[in-house]
Symmetry: C2
Subunit: 351 residues, 2 copies
Amino acid sequence: CNAVLLSDHQHRRYNPLRDEWVLVSPHRMKRPWKGQVERSIEEDIPRHDPDNPLCPGVTRPNGKVNPLYEDTYLFDNDFPAVLPEAPNPGEPDHELLRTEPARGICKVMCFHPWSDMTLPLMSNEEIRAVVDKWAQINEDVGKEYPWVQLFENRGAMMGCSNPHPHCQMWATSYLPNEPALKEHTQRQYYNKHKQPLLVDYVKLEQQKQERIVIDNDTWVCVVPYWAVWPYETMLIPKRHVLRLQDLNHKERDGLADVMKRLLTRYDNMFQVSFPYSMGWHGAPTGRYLLEDMDHWQLHALYYPPLLRSATVRKFMVGYEMLAEPQRDLTPEQAAETLRGLSDVHYKNNKQ
Amino acid sequence: CNAVLLSDHQHRRYNPLRDEWVLVSPHRMKRPWKGQVERSIEEDIPRHDPDNPLCPGVTRPNGKVNPLYEDTYLFDNDFPAVLPEAPNPGEPDHELLRTEPARGICKVMCFHPWSDMTLPLMSNEEIRAVVDKWAQINEDVGKEYPWVQLFENRGAMMGCSNPHPHCQMWATSYLPNEPALKEHTQRQYYNKHKQPLLVDYVKLEQQKQERIVIDNDTWVCVVPYWAVWPYETMLIPKRHVLRLQDLNHKERDGLADVMKRLLTRYDNMFQVSFPYSMGWHGAPTGRYLLEDMDHWQLHALYYPPLLRSATVRKFMVGYEMLAEPQRDLTPEQAAETLRGLSDVHYKNNKQ
Ligand SMILES: O=P(O)(O)O[C@H]1O[C@H](CO)[C@@H](O)[C@H](O)[C@H]1O
Ligand SMILES: O=P(O)(O)O[C@H]1O[C@H](CO)[C@@H](O)[C@H](O)[C@H]1O
């Protein structure tokens, strides 16, 4: 039958959100790895470091002093990639040399006052405070900007330059590539089916029960059919929800629950603080707040690089950069592994 | 004027080959880096290692013995990501769960019998032998397969699992994402302008003289206007050429010359064997050999990750994965730096 075929034999799968394919080569898991082995992930981070600009009470490089914050803490990024003002680059002199103005703001949000804390080790109430802050930022910054990108780089392997638990927000005066693509694909699907793509997709996954990792009353966590990264997942609300600020109380508690359980399983897989990049995609804001955006469904994306162990990652290089992403294990195999892991964090287990 | 504006202020640039944008934030070079520092790049590799399956005379894991090759050596990848045969996954039961068959072959090509050799240290004649082999592979494998992806992952940082100088070839029964996109964009441009996009682009760059790094009678090496990686470059023939096998003798010698000079400059920048992924894109082959493919122009792409030093790289994570690629220095600044470097390799200098 189809499921066995797919788990044993190479094939391509289509990502309807990105209008792109991924090459799946399950037979390749047998390949020995003689390449780069990552350094072990740092596990003894001091709880407070007076030189760390994200810690409470610390003076940042620009002279500003952080308050003695007790839960989350939001502030302007001292080295923003986009600034609110920039001169207009003007008209291009040739269609192959096109430029566009870019304006925006960048913020940083600490999840917790302790540098040695991580989301899966935080309580549900503490994670709920993060969820509320995300919703607030999306609402506030979204009044002005059409795109508010909330994202977290976790772990040095994912370019995270500070071990203190935090995420970032970059808002821009335009829709960046990825949301522009998803605006297009979700609209097309909606026009054709009169249902949001991801609402239909959640229903399908609930029927199939092959790629769902965990769920609760309000959320589903799934390894998408078209996942690229070995243990990539998506969090999708069960109800049709456009934006973070539209989540009700129950859904916010449900999100804290599903995040804690997913991230605990990630950490338990290789008994290490699992690196990843994650972020939120929901209906655009700013001028789009006045438009019908029902083709969108809110979702979070987790892209973790580890493949075989705490020190052997998947490299997206060469073929992947020049031709097409390629994965070794199937999404169904990844979901099965994640399902088999415990909801109790290995660090709490040891105590 | 425009050039000054662009080098001082954030803006977006359009990539007409990928129909995508890149965020350029030149002011961000001032940001201090406290994140992951890469291990120093290994420089003492033994010339011959009896345990390295790419060395002459060695028995590979599958029992096959490598010949005592003296220049290049081509063989089948022992752990191929695509195999010539795979069962057809059949029709999807829903349009959100689409699968396609994938068939193909994977080969490995050694550039030189010595493990401690690299392309920029090889003679022009030795590089020319690599060029001829590339052309031959593209012609031979392209008889059957519509896409022949030649690529090189150089350095452990780029997922290269063996230090011996080599490249790979993955051919597939379909056009992967990237070439499928370029097939579309180049065709559209050609229909509109009756000229190949990249032929027009080379002319533009020759007029502007802002982003050309080096050139010779037959080739141009340019940091593309829309470059994503800090020191990304493209090699483009001056003549309209569809495929590697269509390069004439002079162009093949010219390619060896421009490769040697570019890779020497890369190595000289941080006095280290510069990591990168590179590969070739030209007109599709197989069934496309019978069609008019004049909208294509052959080109090589170099994607090197290093940003500030031999150990500080650019991470394409978080924002880049979820929203849009972002670069710090402008392509013009990168081209200027590369232009200022010597054509004499630092290792030959020391002797
Ligand atoms: O085939 P290699 O060199 O062992 O593997 C490397 O290149 C491949 C093609 O770009 C990638 O799929 C792998 O992730 C990477 O580690
Ligand atoms: O802002 P950070 O955490 O210092 O930097 C990290 O995240 C950014 C946004 O994804 C990337 O542009 C950087 O390359 C990365 O190192």
